[in-house]
Structure formats: C-alpha cells, structure tokens
C-alpha cells in the first residue's frame, strides 16, 4: 500500500524520459540522430518546452483545484490565462495601435504584463478578504471581460496580424527557438522554486481554512502567494506557447487517481510529470499527423480526452 505512490512516481518519470528520448531521435524527418541542426535547433527546444510547460500548467491546475476545492479549476479559471493572452494580443496586433517604441517589447514581456494586471486585480480582491466563492466568480468575470476584449481587438486588426495571433492562440510547444530556451528554462526554474514553496502549506489548507490557520498559516498571505505562483506559471507558459488549457485541468485528476494520496509533496511531482508526459505525448502525435495541421490543443482534445475518459470511466470507483 505504501509503495504505490513511489511506483506511480517512478513510472511517470520513466514515461516522461522515454517520450523525451523518442522525440529526440524521431521526428517528421524520420529517424535522425546525426543532423545537429535538427537535433539541437528543433527537437531539443521542443522537448524542453513541452516537458517544462506541461509540468508547469499541470501544477498550476493542481494548486487551483486544491485551493478552490473545485474539479473544474484550471489555468484559465481566474482570467490569468486570458490576461496573458491579452498581453500577447497587444504585442502581436498592437502594430496598428501602439506607438512604435512599444512594439519592440517582446511577446513574453507583454504576456507577463497582461497576466500581472489580472494578478493585481485578484490580489486586490484577496486582500479584501473575499470568500473563495466570491473570488471564483469574480475571476470568471475578469476572464470573460478579458477574452471579450481580445475578440474586440481581433475585430479591429489587419488580417495578417490577426492570423498571427490566431495561430499563436492555437497553442504550440514548438514556437520557441534555441535562443528562447534559456529564458524559458529560467522562468521554469523560478516557477519550480515557487512551486516548492507550496506543498506544506497546501497540505495544511486541504483540511480547511480554520484548521490551516490554527496550524500557523497566514491564510491571507497564502492566498496571495498561491495566486502569484499560479499567475507566474500560467503567464510564463502562455507567453511562449499560447493558451493551452486541457493539461492544466486534467493532469491533476489523472495523477491523483494513480497516486491515490492527498499529500501534495507526493502529488505535486506526479502532477508535474503527468503534465510533461501529456505535453510530450501530443508532440509525438503531432509527428504522425503532420499532414493534418492539427493544433496542440486539438490533439489534446481529440486524442487525449477520449483516452483519459475511458481510463477514468474504467476507474470510476476511485473518483
């Protein structure tokens, strides 16, 4: 009974490594272990990004699901995702509105800025001591405001820029060049440090706000931190990979069902690895379906969803 989490964790790790290895030696150009350009400029960034981004999204989903005690919570819950998208929308489509000196600001920075503004709004609400249900509803409103704003922007923008934005918003782990990878890894590293702050507190929080407080948690500060960490993770990923929603919601469920524990110190790495594996898995599928030009999000929905649904359905007793 006690070994189950360990076994599960190790298998997730093995799957992740296996998928990475496959993706490194095999791609659209077939088996290829020679061409340095393809290996290091194309495959390596893609693998790194999928690995980290998948894990980061999944972890942020876990944080939000535990915090809100809501199985529907995910990276797009509080409008953080939408905020980042809005930033990118400005960056991509801003050409027609913004003064020239603004246009140079990179997509990533703009995504961060967008997510940050939503974060400040949320932080303000947290500081007002709103209940979690108020927070979730207000977050929903922020999200729908932001996405409407984006669609208005899309409406007002020349088609080529819109096309660029729409392509971006289909989500992809392949958009990064080898030059971007260090930045992204830096963000991911910071994100993982952030994540490491959470397990103990989150464990306390699981049994309710009152008990958490009685065990020495500053609940207000914790909420603030949690929203900060989620914003940071989601914004980092969205900035580089576009909005990818599915992994963040489903990976936590999957990991918890395998691992059958609530201890976040065990669950968090498992969730991270499941997120990574899901991301790598879509990359693998993309190789075989390249002629259909499917988006990452579509593959997750089209192939990931039924597979996961079948698994969950079979395992329904434990849900």
């Amino acid at each position: 009974m006690n070994t189950r989490p360990t076994i599960a964790l190790l298998s997730f790790l093995a799957i992740t490594i296996l998928l990475s290895a496959i993706l490194f030696v095999y791609g659209e150009a077939g088996f290829n272990t020679q061409d340095q350009l393809i290996l290091w400029q194309l495959r390596f960034p893609k693998i790194m990004v999928a690995l980290l981004a998948g894990g980061m999204l999944a972890s942020s989903g876990l944080l939000l699901q535990v915090f809100f005690q809501n199985p529907l919570a995910g990276p797009d819950l509080l409008g953080i995702n939408a905020g980042a998208c809005l930033g990118v929308a400005f960056a991509i489509m801003g050409a027609s509105f913004l003064p020239v000196e603004w246009q140079g600001i990179g997509q990533a920075l703009m995504a961060m800025a967008g997510a940050l503004s939503v974060f400040f709004l949320l932080a303000f609400l947290v500081q007002k001591n709103l209940s979690r249900i108020s927070l979730i509803i207000l977050g929903l409103l922020i999200a729908s405001f932001t996405s409407s704003f984006i669609s208005v922007l899309v409406n007002m923008t020349p088609s080529l820029q819109v096309k660029n934005f729409l392509v971006w918003s289909m989500g992809s782990f392949q958009g990064l060049t080898i030059e971007d990878v260090p930045y992204f890894c830096g963000l991911a590293a910071l994100g993982i440090v952030f994540l490491a702050l959470m397990p103990k507190k989150l464990n306390q929080f699981i049994i309710g706000e009152n008990y958490a407080r009685s065990m020495g948690m500053n609940v207000q500060a914790f909420k603030f931190l949690l929203i900060l960490v989620c914003s940071f993770l989601v914004a980092s990923v969205t900035a580089y990979c576009g909005p990818i929603g599915f992994i963040g919601i489903i990976a936590p469920h999957l990991a918890r069902i395998f691992i059958k524990r609530s201890d976040i110190r065990l669950v968090m790495p498992a969730v991270f690895l499941v997120g990574s594996s899901l991301a790598l898995f879509t990359e693998l599928i993309l190789i075989f379906t390249s002629e259909y030009s499917l988006a990452t999000n579509s593959i997750l929905g089209l192939i990931g969803a039924p597979v996961i649904a079948l698994y969950l359905y079979k395992e329904r007793r434990v849900l």
Partner: protein, 237 residues
Amino acid sequence: MITFKNLSVGFDNKSILANLSGELKRGDLIALMGINGVGKSCFLKTISGLHPAIDGDINLNERSFTRITPAEIAKKLAVVLTDKIHADFLRVHELIALGRSPYTNFWGDFLEEDGQAVEEIVGLLNIKDLNQRLFSDLSDGQKQKVLLARALVQTPDYLFLDEPTTYLDIPSKIELMKLLKFVSREKHTGILFSTHDLSLIEKEVDQIWLIDSAGVLHKKSPDEMNRSGLLAKNFNI
C-alpha cells in the same frame, strides 16, 4: 496564560456575547457549558484566534493576539472544531502528521521527535489500526478521534475543543476525559472544551464555565457550580 478582557464575540459585527473576561492557565482543564446557540462555538473560535473578536482583547502570555504571528500562535494553541473535512485520498496518518506541521521544516519532513509525538498520541487514543485508512472512509466516531489526535500532536500549551466527545462511544468518552486530564496535568496544557455531558465531566474538570441564557459567563468549580444551583436553573434540571 491566555487572558481575555471585555471580549465581545459574534458574527458580522453583531455581538452575541459581550463583556466576557477571564483567563486560562496552563494545566487548567475547563468545561464550557451553555444551552444550544448561546455562543460557545463562537467564543471558542474567537479565543483561539480563528474568528475576529468584535471588541476587547485577547492576550497570550501578556501579548495581544494581534501582535503575534500565526506561526507563533500555532505552536501554543491547537483546536478541534465541529467543521467537517472534505478531502479525497487523505490518509489518517497524513492528517495526524499535519498536526506537527508548525514544528516541521520547510518541506514538512518528520524528525524523530515528531514521530514520537504522533506515536504517543495515536497510542493513547487507540487509533493505531486506522493509520493507513482514508479519512473519508471512517465512521463519525473514528473521524472525531483522528481530529483530536491531530490537535494533540500539535503539543500545544493551550487546547480548545468544541464538543470533543461528539460521536464517541461510552468507553472512548471516558478515555478521552482521562486523556485530557492526563495532558493537562502532565504536559501542563490548558484545556477549554465545550460539552453538554455534565455527568461525564463533573468529576474531572477543574472549573466549569457556564454561559447562561442572558450571556453572562459564570466560572466555578464543579462543586460550587452544583451548590450554586446555576446549572439546574440554566438547564431546567
């Protein structure tokens, strides 16, 4: 020592009980009584810092609650409430271990002393066989014991319990009273707990604090309480 002066407790700025004053010393074992809805739970939550006081001061060792960090308070105080816990896949030993979290390091790792503290309490409460069970799959009484264990492993100086004997069977109730007495005497823990079970506690506690229906807090030893006739009057018995 926890002292409170002119304390008003209540919800949404409407006070339910006003002008409460008193003190809880380490080693005290005190039962809080009063009819349903008089404000016991609210008082307990307030004095343990979980619920904002409407007015008045609460001091822990002469320092106002508002000046102490939650982390410091957590090493001094522990509580058991009547809140239900909803957590999937939460195992009993994990839940009890959480009680040690004010003492554990950044990751929440256990040292030997943490393990011993847990071991001891789990033994005293006789719940060793529940250790690997899921909390959500326990019976009501089992859950109650586990929650008590979590608070006790926190090795607090002061312990606030809201109706701790709820759902417990007769032997467990008696055991619990013995345990509380033991903890208050041997570990010098100051314990304040609400209860409706007069016969069970009469012999064990140092004081009974009775909130009468007018909201006045009476503090007397069980004997004095009986002689004063306050209990009989308040409970129509």
